[in-house]
């Protein structure tokens, strides 16, 4: 286990390094932030002073070296336009994004698994066909369009739910959460559902396929022959075996939920990290972009780690220390 964690850690460090180089060079090539930020009436002396203050006059490798040294000391730099530490800006927005992503994740599992199970056990029922049609729609309709439609229907015409923003928050261990208040929940429902829609469809399909496959396995037939109750067969044997591939995919999908949250956040004016990063890219706010992407890498790594551990719990054949798996 320790060897496994150590290897993971070193992989993460390498990923972070490669990522930071790519982003740094990428943004450097896109354009000069000064041309976007500075007002046209500034004199060359002022312009030069700002360029020097931001360290943009140095060759790119030197800029990168400075960034790296500061980053190792825990300082990812100040955002150009906010003049605040980039990491502070991102951390202050992170709870909102994580809350949204996890809510969507839970919704996807709570709706997806039962529906998938049903569709897998009774593939020919009319209801199952309905479920499959729904999942095709969930796959194929673009998130932003569904989001706008949801706002139109539930906020504009019916007036049931607020169209945008995050509701009242309460602090839990210093983290502001909105899911614990009624106002917060009413704000969370639409964006979380919007974000979850694609994942619900995915979970339905994966579960259904897994269930259909497992139901034809010998151990299910044996269990039936032995007289094991159907409910026990489905819940213990079939579902558990279905979960193994599901965990792998779903774990990775949690990462993409956090990444895809950008679109949903923009439509619902949800004050998460996504909105911050979109604007940062628009004005080439390099420290903010870098800090965000590096945080994302760290987050993905942690999620993958958790997935692997869950995987080993669900499937005793898997041992984390073994080389063959990585």
């Amino acid at each position: 286990m320790t060897a496994f964690l150590l290897r993971r850690l070193s992989q993460t460090v390498i990923t972070l390094l490669v990522m930071s180089v790519l982003v740094f060079v990428g943004i450097y090539m896109v354009g000069n932030p000064i041309d976007i930020l500075i007002s046209a009436s500034a004199t060359p002396a002022e312009r030069q002073q700002i360029i020097t203050a931001m360290g943009l006059d140095l060759p790119v490798w030197q800029q990168y070296w400075i960034f790296l040294k500061n980053a190792l000391a825990g300082d990812l730099g100040n955002s150009f336009v906010y003049n605040q530490p980039a990491i502070r800006l991102i951390l202050s927005r992170m709870p909102a994004t994580l809350e949204l992503a996890f809510s969507a994740f839970v919704i996807a599992l709570l709706i997806g698994i039962p529906l998938g199970l049903y569709a897998g056990l009774k593939p020919r029922a009319v209801g199952s066909r309905g479920v499959m049609v729904f999942s095709i729609l969930g796959f194929s309709l673009p998130t932003f369009w569904i989001g706008l439609m949801m706002i139109l229907v539930f906020s504009v015409y019916l007036g049931w739910l607020p169209a945008s923003g995050r509701g009242q928050t309460v602090n839990v261990l210093g983290v502001p959460l909105s899911i614990l208040t009624l106002d917060g929940l009413s704000h969370l429902v639409l964006p979380a559902l919007n974000l979850a829609l694609f994942k619900i469809s995915l979970v339905i399909r994966l579960t259904r396929a897994g269930v259909i496959e497992c139901m034809q396995m010998d151990y299910v037939r044996f269990a039936r022959a032995k007289g094991v109750p159907e409910a026990r067969i489905v819940l213990l044997h079939v579902l558990k075996n279905t979960l193994i591939p599901l965990i792998t995919v779903i774990g990775l999908e949690l990462g993409s939920l956090i990444a895809f949250a950008v679109v949903t956040e923009t439509i619902f004016a949800w004050p998460g990290m996504g909105k911050l990063i979109i604007d940062a890219i628009g004005v080439l706010d390099r420290p903010l972009i870098l800090a965000y992407l590096l945080m994302t890498v760290v987050m993905f790594t942690i999620i993958n780690l958790i997935v692997d551990i869950c995987y080993s719990l669900a499937d005793p054949r898997v041992r984390l220390g073994e080389d063959s798996r990585s």
């Binding site: 046209a40 060359p44 700002i50 706002i151 602090n171």
Partner: protein
Amino acid sequence: MKQAILAAAVAALISTTAGVEAADLTIGLAASPTSMDPQFYVVGPNSAMARNIFDGLVNQDKNQQIQPALAVSWKTTDDLTWEFKLREGVKFHDGSDFTAEDVAASIKRVELASKNSPSSFLPYVADIESVEVVDPLTVRIKTKQPAALLLNNLSRIAMMPAELEDVPTDTLNQGKDVIGTGPFKFVSWQPENRVVLERNDQYWGEPAAWDQVTFRVFTNPSARVAAIRSGDVDMIEAVPTADLDTLKNQSDIDVVTHSSNRVMYLHLDQDRDQSPFAKGRDGSNPLKKAEVRRAISLAINREALVDRIMDGQGVPAGQLVPEGYFGYAPDIAVDPYDPNEAKKLLADAGYPSGFSLTFHASNDRYPNDSLVAQAIGQLLTRVGIKTEIVTLPASVYFSRASKLEFSMIMGGAAVETGEASGVLGPLLETYGPGAGQGNRGRYSSPEFDAALQKARLTVDEGARQALLQDAMRIAMKDLGVIPLFFLANSWAMKDAFQLTPRTDGYTLAYDVKPAGQ
């Protein structure tokens, strides 16, 4: 910050339980301020937000003309000395008195606040040699040279209590010490999300109509429109042109459209013999010839651009400032749409069969910018200039344009100072140290430069206006840039509200009143 959020939450709770008595206003903004320090970063959203909380010695009114604010009167004793009489009895939000000491400290603080600023306020105080406190209500400002724009520049400098002279931007960004004299007091701020303000009952002018104002940020246009249609906000700024009709047809929503101070224009490479994207048969740069530039101007149907592409949200432009602005020359006509004359001019200039041109424009910086660019491309192709359109995101476009990688580009310039030199200088003055930094066409005319420079040093209003008009005439005759149209700004609000719109497009809570008042 946490306390601020908590305070906002509590305030929100109180305001909802207080019922109908409380007059609250929620405004949906299109862009977030990036700082609560009014002296940190010269950029629209920051300046607009600052105007709710802070005042200058003088303020710009809704047409960007200078009005007395914290100074009630001023006089020039000689070309270099200005004396300001301050308003009596003005209180800061923390209860302290506003005096001459605060003026001196506020102007001095600009230097500190410029640290790490991507675009600082230093240019606005560059002319100032010294600030003397004569008595608590009199300030004497000496300038390094005759500074005709001193009042315009001072209108951009927020007045803060003298104790804040050494307080850095970061402190204000954390919601501490955001203290001004304006109609609203600061309550809380979350970047990219919301700003909450409350009424300043000690305001020196008429008190604002609202107990509490919440600004919320919706960068996505559809989200902004949805917010007003669902009633989440009372009012939004920057209504997307595509949604104007929907909102106008909704009975409980009013739309206000008002011309703005931002002119859209074309910059043409008129300096180099060979240009990367404009080539005649012999490979030379056709844009160097004034006839060709005039032909391009005549080939553009400005009325159609405004009507069809901008849905009427604009006014055709024949010069760089709108009517009513200081320096506007009434005798300059808007070029008519005249494709035949354009073809004739092209033939006279030696391009009877036109030439090939690639036209570059941004696609996410100005309203409908890529659509406008495509329409212009088609209009030019119609008179024989084979035009290709390339549109790029602003983050890429402006850097490359500054490096002169293009031949013809489209830009937009706002008349931030409220008078003509604010656009003439950056866009048209001969490029060099200290001048013409936004002159991406490298227009250069000694007569123009002389008139503009003289205007800057002329304190007398009448003489200065005449000089600015001269400069404008010269540049428009040469077509140093080709003006296209002035953008319009639109706001949508519930019919219980009314707004006095501003040409600078700032959405100020003070300008919003309950309908019928």
